[in-house]
Symmetry: D2
Subunit: 304 residues, 4 copies
């Protein structure tokens, strides 16, 4: 199977002030991401508040992203949910509209306790879109599925033909690398934490999915470019800058809340978050803006 090279973006879901999904900005959003070096999008995931959308909204968003995607721009649709039948429906739809691939995280409820449970879950979804690559999205801090990923690979190998790899959003570069080394790189291991792209590159990483790429994609893709041309100093500087940006959003409830608001600050308002997220106040927004100015963010951020 084709492996992803470069960075895929996990977009936010544009919403109106009343919280309705607003597909209008998607074409400009897709164009901006492509312009700033991103290779595609992983939609309706955690950054996109996918679990908080109705199935109909998720379907609408998938269609709009497909329409808006420039040539060669990959659209991967996250179809994970607590209800496997809903996930199957979303996976079939993704295949129908010609998405590049699908992905699913473990359901947060019931909490997954065994590899066999997770494998059965992935198997059912993957089988609903057998022509598309399926990525498991490993983000245990969000859903409690603290299971060993090397064991998942063993469980799905030979059982799920279109299992493509893992979006790995966890701190263990050791486990990540062991997954990479499984059968000499059989599976596509996508790095999933923007704060450690450079360390991960030493292990041979070639692709990843980012959340802060929405507004800081030039610098993050620049880490990989600098590394590939042997310019460690530039790569390190850009990675340190990326961490400085992440330091700021950590002060404002993380990427889903703080990061979505940064989009407004760079001139592309994507609206509020859904409850139970607490939207940022105007004072918080002003304070965050000052923190970002202090690190020179607005000179280096994504451009339209």
């Amino acid at each position: 199977m084709e492996k992803i090279k470069g960075l895929i973006d996990a977009p936010f879901t544009p919403m109106l002030a009343n919280g309705d999904v607003n597909p209008a900005p998607i074409p400009a959003y897709a164009a901006m991401l492509a312009k700033n070096g991103l290779k595609g999008v992983f939609i309706n995931g955690s950054s996109g508040e996918g679990y908080m959308l109705t199935p109909e909204e998720r379907i609408l968003l998938a269609e709009k992203w497909m329409e808006a995607a420039p040539a060669g721009f990959k659209v991967i649709v996250h179809v994970g949910s607590c209800c496997l039948r809903e996930s199957v429906r979303l996976a079939k739809h993704a295949a129908q509209i010609g998405a590049w691939g699908i992905g699913a995280m473990a359901p947060p409820f019931p909490k997954i306790g065994r590899i066999e449970e997770l494998a059965a879950y992935c198997e059912t979804i993957a089988a609903a879109a057998p022509e598309l690559p399926f990525y498991y999205y490993h983000i245990p801090a969000f859903n409690g599925a603290f299971l060993p990923m090397t064991e998942l690979l063993k469980a799905v190998d030979g059982r799920i033909p279109n299992f493509a790899g893992i979006k790995y959003t966890f701190e263990s570069l050791y486990e990540y690398n062991q997954c990479r080394l499984y059968k000499n790189g059989k599976y596509d291991m996508l790095h999933g934490q923007d704060e450690t792209i450079l360390p991960s590159l030493t292990q041979g990483t070639e692709g990843g999915i980012g959340g802060t790429t929405n507004y800081n994609g030039r610098e993050l893709t620049g880490i990989i470019e600098a590394w590939q041309r042997g310019d460690l100093e530039t790569a390190r500087e850009k990675q340190n800058f990326a961490q400085a940006v992440i330091n700021v959003i950590c002060n404002y409830r993380g990427n889903i809340v703080g990061g979505k608001r940064i989009m407004k600050l760079i001139g592309f308002d994507l609206g509020p978050n859904r409850i139970p997220f607490r939207n940022m106040t105007d004072d918080e927004e002003a304070a965050m803006k000052r923190e970002l100015e202090a690190i020179g963010f607005f000179e280096r951020c994504n451009k339209f």
Copy 2:
């Protein structure tokens, strides 16, 4: 607001062998529960695999339970989900069909971290069915919402007019009692662990919601009856028996899996569980049956 006296049952969702929801057994199910002393049902909750059902399935089940409920038999509809808009839709539907009340647990994703997030979540749902009592369903072991319930009561008091109380499925009888004592019993605190009904009665508990009441309701309601007539010995024996039954289901992946299979053993097959639950094998079923026979379960269980 009226407080619930006695025990409400959290029913399993009947399914066909292919996993489709099967409403056919519901009338007999409701009649059986009423006959064995239960005062109502809390449907589409954790025992009912509510999170694993589509919204349409949840709506169908609510309607069928309403049709089947005998006079005075309370139907409380669990409407919690990761998607607040879906929960609102389900709450409105519950009100339309005349349900007695609604309930919602905290969403497992995103994980609730603050009382304010939880209060906003409850507020939005409760406001969608303002004529119905709203119960918060506290089950942190399942969804990670380990928040202090006394703080939740303070947060909703004066803010959510139809906040009725809490289905409290957690081990702290101390916190449970502090909630009971809040403003001299302003809120209806429903005990939610069948293994400790008797200890809870000492604190003044009058109502609860059970999961093992599906098949062991006579004994569990018998605990309360014995206590109320001052017969501690009988109450204790029945509580010990109830624990013995729970010991068995703990050997078979708990009530959702093991308990649902007990229904088949008492002559009322409700079908399989949904993935990611692992259904019991025939060997497991036979072993469980032997364990239940050893404690004399089939003489004391619910009767049709």
Copy 3:
């Protein structure tokens, strides 16, 4: 083996202002506890900051409590530590000085992960004082040893002859009762949470070890007395009062910090806590005093 009836107190360790252990108050302390209905002491445990004492200090304290104990007043010496050889030394010393029994919690480091590890740990300590009853002190919230206690009983039964029972400081009254029922009450299960004595009595509890008994022992022993004479209303009122007292100490870093300072407020200053505990400020002490006055504590507390 003899089972403990009534409540044992877990005393604080008296210290001078400079943090040195101060044995001087121990005779008066022992007399006060006996006068207020306590049946003995469990020394050098968590309330006594046992892990934060040197072995020499623990030995000194054991000797002083033995000297001060009135006739029939049980002295149980907690000898748990991270260093098993130190625990063995303390156990032998306890036997030499004629202590009534010994106890040990699981070592917090290395974190116990298996019943076999815990059984070997208990076995080695118990064998160092073979004539004394040995109590395992289950307090997983403090040391991370979240292991099933019914499995521990099975593992030690027939292997540790002087294993007497468990001081059970955890919320699960279900597991506690299952331990009680093991082989028809073979082991002495001591209730270990002052906030739920009354609920526990319904299961047949006859003894316990308290931490708030240091200052609220009259009310806590009163719960048992009222229950035994069939006066549920009084028992409930006293249990609710005990919870109200615990509500206060929870505002001041719990019993080890807040409770130790209450001793000063009732006229028996036991000095500071050791680092890393943060001692209460004067302002905090004054605020705590007001909270205690508001619930009428000083009329009902232990008397000298």
Copy 4:
């Protein structure tokens, strides 16, 4: 303050078959470590079962390591314990015998909950050896002290003059790097996970403390050497090999148990572990040997 370059080893504590500490092998041990590229030792830490030793044993070991250390070979004495007074005693002793530095992890009991508690703990120990650099040993998976290390640096900066840095044994390379960047590298951040040395080097890491360096030190120091001369392929191969070795010990209860037994397999028997560790059986040892042979370990391991 001087920063550590290269790798320091965390040695196992040699024991006799009866579990007594056995200082006899220490001179040969020190010479072997120096010969294989290690720059010093961090003794009586987690690999050394420090918490499971009596204070007298810890003192004896410190003296023996000081006597055995070759010129320029750093001896850092871990003095952390649950009892601060014991830690102070050990710190003073380390200073008296001329140790290069001291270190302490957070006490596992009582569990540290606040930075202020941890800062007071470190301050007291560091003040007992004011001429020596003090390293905080961050290993939250072992002691539950999951606190932000950037906050610790802020808390100790200007308060603990001899606070040298942190032995960072946790997965977050992001937090590790943020600590490195604090005040342009004011503190010495020692990498503490042998499985991710190479990724960490991209951030500027120059020193670390290893546990598998006891038997795999040539390869681990080789990672740094290869990186420094720009040979990424060799560095990556050696890091992958180091992970393969770690994969093996993870099958045998980790480095403290499995790694200590590897010492026997390379001809340097250091005896058993202390309870509650479960020593490896002969069968386990044989199986582990086969796994190590399969990866060619015995050709690449440390040599005497």
